[in-house]
C-alpha cells in the first residue's frame, strides 16, 4: 500500500519501448501456446510491471511474471523454463507433471500417429479405419494373446484411434448421460431423506411478513441444493484387458462430458491421470497426449501399486465424500495381492462407494479366483460384469442404487 498507489498511466507505459512491447506480445503468445490462460488484462499488467522497474534484473522479472501469469501448480513449475527459453535463449528443461506418466515424452509412435492421421476426425478419418464393433475383439494388441496376467511390460500401444469413430462416441455418450442422470437423481433423494426438516429463511420471512406486523404467518423455507455425485473411473489398460480398453475409453469420454464432476485414470504397470488429456478440445492432440501417457499399456498389471499411487498422490484432490470410484479391471494382479487388499481398504475409507466392473465376469464358468480380485472383494460395494456398452446399460439400475 505504501509504495505505488497510482496505477501507471499512459505516459509511463510509453516508456516501454515499442520493441519491448512486441517482444512481450510474442511472449504472451508463447505462454498461450503452452496452455497458460493469459488475457489482455495480464498483458497490460505485465507492461506496467516492466515500466515500474521490474525488468531491471532477469531474475526479478521472471519472479514477477511467474506470479502474474501462473494460475496453477503446473504453470508454476513450467514457467521458469519457458521464461529462460524465451528471454534468455536457454533450452527448455521440460518436467513431467503427471504422476506416473511415462518418463520420456518422445515416443516414436507419437510421430507415426500424427503422420498417419491427416484429419483429426470426421468422414475422412472414419474411412481409413475399420469401423469396429464392441462385441468383436478387433484390437490388434489383443490378438494371439492369452487372457490372463502377464508380467511383461509391453511397450507397444493400444490403438486409441478407434475412439474417433463418431457413431460409437455418440453411443458411449448416450450411455454415460443416462448413467449420470440416474445416479444424480438417486443421490438427491438420499439427501432429502437424511435432512431433518427444512431450514427457515428468516431474512425472506421477515421481509414478506412486515404487512402482518412482523408475525411470521407465511413462512419462506430454504432447501439445500443437492450436490452432484463425482465419478472417478480407474481403467485397467493392461494386456489382459486389451479387448475392452477401447470400449471403456469411449465410455470414459462420455463420462467426462456428461457428469458434472468426473475424473479418469488409466493404469497398467503405472497410473496415469488422463482427465486433462481427454478433455482436450483438439481431438488429435488428445490422442497424442493419451498415447504418450499410455506407454506401457498392454503389458502386465500392478493394480496394487497403481492404487497406492492413486491413494498417495491423487485421492486427496480427486475424492470427496460424494465420490463413487469405478474400477474397471479383470483383477489379474501381477504385483502383490496383499498390497492391493491394503490399498483397497484405504480407498474404501475415503470414498462413498466402490464399483468394480469385471469384463471377465460375463464369461461362463468364471469364478473370482485370481488372487488380486480375492483380496479386493471385501471392500467392493458392487461387483458386476461389463464388457460392452450394452452391458453397461444393463447395469444402470444397479449403479443408480449406489
Amino acid at each position: 500500500m505504501s509504495c505505488c498507489d497510482t496505477t501507471p498511466g499512459y505516459d509511463e507505459l510509453d516508456e516501454v519501448s515499442r520493441l519491448v512491447s512486441t517482444k512481450l506480445a510474442a511472449f504472451l503468445r508463447t505462454l498461450r501456446d503452452n496452455g497458460f490462460a493469459v488475457g489482455l488484462h495480464e498483458g497490460r499488467d505485465a507492461a506496467s510491471l516492466m515500466a515500474a522497474g521490474y525488468a531491471a534484473r532477469p531474475g526479478l522479472l521472471r519472479s514477477a511474471f511467474k506470479h502474474l501469469f501462473s494460475a496453477r501448480k503446473a504453470d508454476w513449475e513450467k514457467f521458469d523454463g519457458l521464461f529462460d527459453a524465451f528471454w534468455l535463449g536457454k533450452r527448455v528443461r521440460s518436467r513431467s507433471v503427471t504422476m506416473g506418466s511415462a518418463k520420456s515424452a518422445n515416443s516414436p509412435s507419437l510421430k507415426s500417429l500424427r503422420d498417419t492421421r491427416a484429419e483429426p476426425s470426421g468422414s475422412e478419418a472414419a474411412t481409413d479405419q475399420v469401423p469396429s464393433t464392441d462385441e468383436a475383439p478387433e484390437n490388434r494388441a489383443g490378438e494371439g494373446r492369452m487372457e490372463g496376467a502377464s508380467r511383461a511390460e509391453n511397450l507397444s500401444e493400444i490403438d486409441f484411434r478407434k475412439m474417433a469413430d463418431p457413431e460409437q462416441i455418440e453411443q458411449a455418450h448416450a450411455v454415460a448421460a443416462r448413467l449420470a442422470k440416474a445416479m444424480r437423481a438417486r443421490l438427491t433423494r438420499r439427501d432429502q431423506a437424511r435432512r431433518r426438516g427444512y431450514r427457515l429463511d428468516l431474512r425472506r420471512t421477515i421481509h414478506s411478513n412486515i404487512s402482518h406486523g412482523g408475525v411470521p404467518i407465511s413462512l419462506i423455507k430454504r432447501r439445500r441444493k443437492p450436490k452432484p455425485l463425482r465419478l472417478v473411473v480407474l481403467l485397467d489398460a493392461s494386456g489382459s484387458m486389451s479387448m475392452y480398453t477401447g470400449v471403456f475409453l469411449r465410455f470414459i469420454h462420455g463420462v467426462l462430458d456428461e457428469f458434472r464432476e468426473a475424473e479418469a485414470f488409466l493404469f497398467h504397470t503405472r497410473l496415469a491421470y488422463v482427465s486433462d488429456a481427454m478433455k482436450e478440445k483438439d481431438s488429435a492432440r488428445a490422442l497424442d497426449r493419451l498415447s504418450i501417457m499410455a506407454q506401457g499399456a498392454g503389458g502386465g498389471t500392478r493394480i496394487g501399486e497403481s492404487l497406492q499411487t492413486f491413494n498417495r498422490w491423487h485421492a486427496a484432490r480427486v475424492i470427496h465424500s460424494r465420490s463413487c470410484v469405478m474400477i474397471v479391471s479383470d483383477g489379474y494382479e501381477t504385483g502383490d495381492a496383499a498390497l492391493l487388499g491394503r490399498e483397497m481398504a484405504a480407498l474404501a475409507k475415503r470414498c462413498r462407494r466402490i464399483v468394480w466392473l469385471n469384463p471377465m465376469l460375463g464369461w461362463q464358468g468364471y469364478a473370482p479366483e485370481a488372487a488380486g480380485i480375492k483380496a479386493a472383494l471385501p471392500h467392493i460395494d458392487l461387483y458386476a460384469p461389463a464388457n460392452t456398452l450394452q452391458s453397461l446399460c444393463a447395469l444402470e439400475p444397479y449403479l443408480a442404487k449406489l
Binding site: 505505488c4 522497474g53 506470479h67 412486515i210
Partner: protein, 301 residues
C-alpha cells in the same frame, strides 16, 4: 529513464522492506514471496496461495497484516458457506422487536426503518471493504466453498462493491489486501485463478525452516534449530501418509525446547517419543520405528 530508475529503487526498497517487515512479525519469507506481495500492492490484485496443508499459507496473511499494522479479517470457507455468513445478514431479532414496538404505524415507514444500516450485521466480506484503513482480507481454504460462492466472490473481487437489495449498492471505502489460500482439494475455476496472482508455497528448505524455528520458538538455539530442521527434512522424505508441515515442526521444536533438549544426539529416546508431534496417523507412527528414527538422526550432523 531517470524516473524508471527511481521507481526501480522504490520497488526494490519495498521488496526488501516487505521481507524485513514480515520477518519482524515472525514470518521468514523467501524472495519470491516478497516479490508476490509487492506485485499484489502494485497491481491491486488478490494473491492466491496454494500448497500442502501446514506450509504456512495462513501465516502469510497474518504476518502481512502485522507488517501493515492493520486488521486481519478472516473468512474461513466451508461447504455450504453462503452470502448470509460471508457478506451480510439482517439482525432479525432487532427487526422483530422494532416491528412490535412500532405496531400500528405506517408499514412503509417501518420497512424503511428496519432495513437500515442500524439493523445490518457485517460479515467478513462486507466488513473488509468498509474499513477506513485497508485491512488484510484472508479468504481461507477457498477450495472448500462451492462453485457458486466462488463465482460470487469473483464478482466482489473485481468490482469491490456489494449490492444489498433492501439498501442499495455499497461501494468499497478502501480496497483490502486480499489473500486467498487453497489446499487443492477441489480444482478452482480458471476465472478465479486469472483474477489472482499465483504463488505456490512449498515446504521450506532446511535453512529457512531453521530460521523459522528460531524466529518463533524462544530459547531455540541455532544449532538445535538446524538439527530439528534437518531431521524434519529427512522425515518428509519418508513415505508418509501425512507429511508434517511447518506448524508440526514448530510444535515439535517447542516440545523439545520445553523438555530442555540442547542437542538431539544426547537424547535419541526423547526424540523418538516426541515424534508424535510430527506424525499424525497411526500408519505413519508405526512406520517410523525406533530404528528409522535412529537412522534419520544419524544423518543429522
Amino acid at each position: 529513464m531517470k524516473r524508471s530508475e527511481e521507481e526501480n529503487a522504490s520497488a526494490m526498497k519495498t521488496r526488501e522492506d516487505i521481507a524485513t517487515a514480515l520477518a519482524a512479525s515472525g514470518y521468514i519469507a523467501d524472495a519470491e514471496l516478497a516479490t508476490a506481495i509487492s506485485l499484489m500492492q502494485l497491481l491491486k490484485r488478490p494473491l492466491l496461495l496454494e500448497g500442502e496443508a501446514g506450509v504456512g499459507k495462513t501465516e502469510v496473511a497474518k504476518a502481512l497484516a502485522a507488517a501493515h499494522a492493520t486488521e486481519l479479517i478472516r473468512l474461513q470457507c466451508y461447504e455450504g458457506l453462503d452470502q448470509s455468513a460471508a457478506l451480510y445478514e439482517w439482525n432479525y431479532q432487532r427487526q422483530l422487536l422494532s416491528i412490535q414496538a412500532h405496531r400500528g404505524e405506517d408499514a412503509d415507514a417501518i420497512e424503511h426503518q428496519i432495513f437500515s444500516e442500524k439493523y445490518l450485521l457485517e460479515r467478513p466480506l462486507l466488513a473488509a471493504i468498509r474499513r477506513d484503513k485497508p485491512p488484510v482480507l484472508l479468504i481461507d481454504e477457498i477450495d472448500r466453498a462451492d462453485d457458486e460462492f466462488e463465482a460470487f466472490l469473483l464478482e466482489l473481487l473485481s468490482d469491490f462493491q456489494v449490492s444489498i437489495p433492501e439498501l442499495g449498492t455499497i461501494k468499497a471505502v478502501t480496497i483490502p489486501h486480499v489473500v486467498l489460500t487453497s489446499n487443492g482439494t477441489r480444482e478452482l475455476s480458471d476465472a478465479l485463478r486469472r483474477r489472482c496472482l499465483y504463488h505456490y508455497v512449498d515446504y521450506p528448505d532446511v535453512d529457512r525452516e531453521a530460521r523459522i524455528i528460531m524466529a518463533r520458538i524462544e530459547n531455540a538455539g541455532a544449532s538445535l534449530s538446524l538439527q530439528i530442521a534437518r531431521l524434519v527434512e529427512g522425515i518428509r522424505k519418508e513415505e508418509l501418509r501425512k507429511v508434517p508441515g511447518v506448524a508440526e515442526t514448530l510444535d515439535w521444536a517447542a516440545a523439545l525446547v520445553g523438555l530442555g533438549v540442547r542437542d538431539l544426539h544426547d537424547t535419541p529416546e526423547l526424540v523418538h517419543e516426541t515424534l508424535m508431534c510430527l506424525l499424525k496417523t497411526h500408519e505413519d507412527r508405526s512406520r517410523v520405528t525406533r530404528e528409522v528414527s535412529e537412522r534419520l538422526l544419524g544423518k543429522v550432523a
